[in-house]
């Protein structure tokens, strides 16, 4: 059996805006028919990378192949095969939702049924509403419908669930899982860790234009060295004393009054150290949980906790 060529292959991509380096030597691989989540803080270079892959921007250095094509040289040939959901959507301000979807559908050889798609994405109630009067979530769902209506083999979704309520997000997650099931490759950008964790085969965390970590969600979160233990006990215990009682390299904190976190490799000896120390403080460690780190923890560790402008 032949392995199909990768949907996206990026090597050493660099993009500068004046003196700002938006993308700084980035590599990316999306296998045919799989889902890749590009995760990163604002300004990490996610949208720039996606727009270079779509052929809207030209990189300053590096090699980009999307479905075997160079997007900068063959944008028309490429866009006949991909679906794009740009950040913030895109439609004539006064066009009716269904009218816009019909226009985009007409640009494809064998589009999905517009009426069905409108219905299943919950847009039937606003099919005749002008675009600028749609809610943010409705505009997002219309943009998503426009991205998939042409039966593409690769879909780019730039923050597909931004501004959506939980029900709408559920529909979008279903849709992305159905795309993957039917053999469509998906490259999505997101801020939402749980979205990346739930949908992606591969998560790539980018920061300041570089890849800082990548792997399957499980691989990224289950590094055994980096477990944590949470427990409840009376508030205000001496955390420094606990750290001193633990082996070198362990961390402990009381992020919320009465709730404690110990970070490091959790084994029976460490658990015993913790409970013994609590007993010495006249406290009972309650609700003890050993948790693997969430993707959010990994993300914040790698990209820092300070706010970005």
């Amino acid at each position: 059996m032949n392995t199909p060529p990768p949907a996206v292959a990026v090597r050493g991509l660099v993009k500068r805006y004046g003196r700002t380096v938006a993308v700084d030597g980035l590599d990316l691989d999306l296998a045919a028919g799989s889902v890749l989540a590009l995760l990163g803080p604002n300004g990490a270079g996610k949208t720039t990378t996606v727009e270079i892959c779509e052929g809207f921007l030209r990189g300053d250095a590096g090699e980009v192949r999307v479905l075997g094509l160079d997007p900068a040289d063959a944008p028309d040939a490429l866009r006949a095969r991909i679906g794009v959901m740009p950040q913030g959507g895109g439609a004539y301000p006064t066009v009716r939702a269904a009218e816009m979807l019909r226009l985009v559908a007409a640009c494809s050889a064998d589009p999905l049924d517009v009426g069905w798609l409108t219905d299943v994405l919950g847009l039937d109630g606003c099919a005749r509403t002008p675009y600028k009067r749609l809610s943010g979530g409705q505009q997002q769902r219309l943009a998503l419908a426009c991205a998939v209506v042409g039966r593409p083999e690769l879909v780019f979704l730039d923050e597909p669930t931004a501004g959506m309520d939980p029900q709408a997000r559920r529909v979008v997650w279903d849709l992305i899982q159905a795309l993957r099931r039917d053999g469509v490759a998906v490259l999505l950008t997101t801020h939402l860790m749980e979205e990346a964790e739930a949908l992606a085969d591969e998560v790539v965390i980018v920061d300041r234009g570089r890849v800082v970590a990548q792997g399957s969600p499980t691989a990224l979160t289950s590094t055994t060295e980096q477990q944590e233990l949470r427990f409840r006990a009376r508030s205000g215990m001496d955390v420094d004393g606990l750290i001193a009682a633990l082996p070198v390299g362990y961390g402990a904190a009381e992020p919320i009054a009465g709730r404690y976190v110990v970070r490091g490799r959790i084994d029976p000896a460490v658990l015993s150290t913790i409970t013994t120390w609590c007993a010495g403080q006249g406290a009972l460690a309650d609700d003890v949980q050993v948790a693997r780190r969430s993707l959010e923890d990994v993300f914040l560790e790698l990209t820092g906790r300070e706010l970005r402008s």
Partner: protein, 258 residues
Amino acid sequence: MNRFPPGTFTPRPGPGAPLRMLAVQSGTEMRLALRNGEQVLLTLLIPIVLLVGLSTLDVVPLPAPRIASVVPGVLALAVMSTAFTGQAIALGFDRRYGVVRRLAATALPRWLLVAGRLVAVLGTVALQVVVLGVLAVALGWRPVASGLGWALLLLLLGCAAFGSLGILLGGSLRAEITLAVANVVWFVLLLAGGIIVPLGMLPGPLAAVGAALPSGALAEGLRAALAGGHPPSAAQVVVLLAWTAVASALAVRTVKLR
């Protein structure tokens, strides 16, 4: 349980038929223009009011029969309103709302992106010419039959010149600035660019400037064709073609999708 049956999204990509893409895009844009109150005011109501008002009331001195100098000017105004002002404003706001980028991201090739807008402009201008022409005939206008072909040629050259200027303006500047500039230019050319007042009745220097503007060349060419059956002068054709060439060349360099 997934709400999308298996096989729903099995890839079957490919571009649509070019003529169908062109028809749907230009049809959509023309419908949007005719659904928009401000656009209809600009493209139909103001030309109709000027046609009726100027031909029946003696507000501006014009040679008799008044309607013979009013109709060509109003037709030139119709072209300018749709191809330049309306087009620039629509393009400015379409860019703001990301529609140009949205369409560019489909299988619609780039040449169709521009062609679709121009066909929508031509369709709107055809509608204006029919409405204004029928109304003018009802008001007693009798064009010279031998000049109708020349008038059609001039209308197309005018659409090309004003259309490229409209795309240049709406495609390069921010939507609010486009809105202001497009309206000011429309108003200035209406009064001093040979549209309402024939160039021959403007002061000398103003008339010379007017003859080099697309509005003056178009309106004067239409007056000569429809009142006298004359072909357009070489100067009028050169002026319209030169504005088209310069504006298109600049537009290719400056127009942004967003």
